[in-house]
Assembly symmetry: C2
């Protein structure tokens, strides 16, 4: 069956996330031991799909630490070989395979220059794990399908479990414990994503929007759609969309819009209205009533992106199936990125 | 004449840059007074087109300060309203108009929370200038064309002139003084960009690649092409291109590749070879001999992006002219971005 691996790996997510949730106290305690005091900042090291996870991590870690977090620029170390004093920094590297060579190289370089280091990897014995002082193994099992699913949501959750080591988080213990069950609930409720995919099946382009942490879900959903179908899907923030590409949104243009449902998210929901006035076919993934594809209500904003990503996976997998494509092995993609 | 404003503003660049270069000692001295000691890090605040300038600034400032620099996430302040301790940080805000409300709001918020603040603006009396302790006026004159040209290159140069306030820079005083003349030289040499544009005129998509600081030039060139022609131009790093979208590069696909000409830039030049093997029509903008569109040789890597952007402007303006479009006023774009 086409897409069997991706479907099986998506279905494993509640169990994978539950195992991580069970380890939450140990993960926070281990990371706490390497957090510098005073803390200057946090830097995330990632490539490709992990970049979308790093964007989420950047919010979650900055908001918990109340100190700036950002994404490292690997070229500073690998191309310009410029020295950077990393004293007072926590560096968190992400690589689902643990074998993207550049990520390990950069983390090693940051450590030499004074950063304390954490790696998030799936699988053991990876070079990245060796470069870090603390390694968080996702324990997600082998991932065979090219589009990462369970390792991606597990990475997001791992970042969320690091956050309490840096400061106060905006969710309760009960809320994090409820997450795997909510993921299972979404996975067993496939009809909304299938309906949504059916309505956007005829185009070769789609915009996926999300603001703040939901931009990570939008970028990841766009990547999954590109990987599984070849549709030119682009993730973009409402502000950047309004600044330029909105001019290219013609009547009938499909847009997927992740909304937080928060009262403060007026910017994103106003953009949705503007897009509809332009004749775009906007479909909303949100916990708001009347969403085309619902998310559970009452989930803290910091955990919502994990559930949003599940909806994005369902949309991407459905689109591929509708087109007779095999989402497990898109042409031209391989699982490990090699860069120098 | 279509594109008259853009052409005139492009032609003003040597004079605008020369005026900034003349002020280099004063700019560095003024910024030096607000740089925190010890310095934890640098954060750049920008939106839209200025984001591409911030990406360049992030390299230039991190490499001079030898402390991490990164781009701020406005949503942390405007959507989540999460407090972040900015003690020890220099915040540099960029807005060509000085009126993008979110940029001023975020800079004000960072200052309240302990950051020292610099604003780069064009024009006086802007709200952003009021939010900052030090304001660098670009003094570029009014910019009428929607695609920013002279304010963009002036912003890059202003970032370069801030860098000496943070530490040692990798160019000499003579090299920075030579820059406006090199820009004038490129602007008077229009044939290479016109030839290059003629060879990519038939497509509706183009990829623009660049590594490290040249990614800023690639993203800006892609933006100019989108703004002036509506062609779906996408700027991307070689590593990210290789990881995924390369699968979509079919024979004949046009690719613009900015290469540094440095021996270390093997990754980018190997990618160019790979793309050519796939049948892509790759055109190279570089200081290497044999480039389709030459850049001057011997320019320090930190200043090369400014010259690369000039070539990108020429390509975008030529493409628009060839299609009978008016690059001054693309449909649906306005000059100030409003976001909350």
């Amino acid at each position: 069956m086409k897409g069997r691996a991706m479907a099986a790996e998506m279905a494993e997510q509640p169990a994978v996330l539950e195992r991580l949730v069970q380890r939450r106290a140990a993960i926070a305690a281990e990371v706490r031991q390497v957090v510098p005091h005073p803390l200057c900042g946090i830097t995330l090291v990632a490539r490709g799909s992990s970049d979308n996870a790093a964007l989420y991590g950047r919010y979650i870690l900055e908001m918990a630490a109340r100190r700036p977090a950002g994404l490292s620029a690997p070229s500073i170390h690998t191309l310009y070989r410029s020295p950077v004093d990393m004293d007072g920094y926590l560096a968190v590297a992400i690589s689902q395979s643990g074998r993207t060579p550049e990520v390990g190289t950069v983390l090693g370089r940051l450590r030499e220059q004074g950063a304390r280091t954490v790696a998030i990897v799936n699988g053991t014995g990876s070079p990245l794990a060796e470069a870090a002082e603390v390694t968080i193994h996702l324990d997600a099992g082998a991932e065979v399908a090219v589009p990462a699913t369970k390792t991606f949501t597990a990475t997001l959750l791992a970042l969320g479990l690091i956050a309490p080591a840096l400061g106060e988080v905006a969710w309760s213990d009960a809320e994090i414990a409820a997450l795997p069950g909510q993921v299972a609930g979404l996975l067993s409720d496939r009809a909304p994503a299938e309906r949504l995919a059916a309505r956007m099946d005829d185009g070769e382009r789609v915009l996926v929007t999300g603001r703040g942490m939901l931009l990570a879900a939008a970028l990841e959903t766009a990547l999954k759609i590109r990987e599984t179908t070849g549709i030119l899907a682009e993730g973009i923030s409402p502000a950047d969309l309004r600044h330029g590409p909105i001019a290219a949104v013609a009547p009938g243009f499909p847009v997927l819009s992740f909304l937080s449902g928060e009262a403060d998210d007026l910017d994103a929901s106003e953009l949705t209205d503007t897009l509809r006035q332009r004749g775009a076919r906007v479909q909303v993934i949100s916990s708001e009533r009347g969403a085309d594809c619902p998310l559970p209500a009452g989930v803290p904003p910091g955990l919502l992106p994990i559930l949003a990503v599940i909806r994005g996976q369902q949309v991407a997998a459905t689109l591929a199936r509708r087109r007779g494509l095999d989402p497990d092995a898109p042409a031209g993609l391989s699982k490990v990125t090699l860069t120098r």
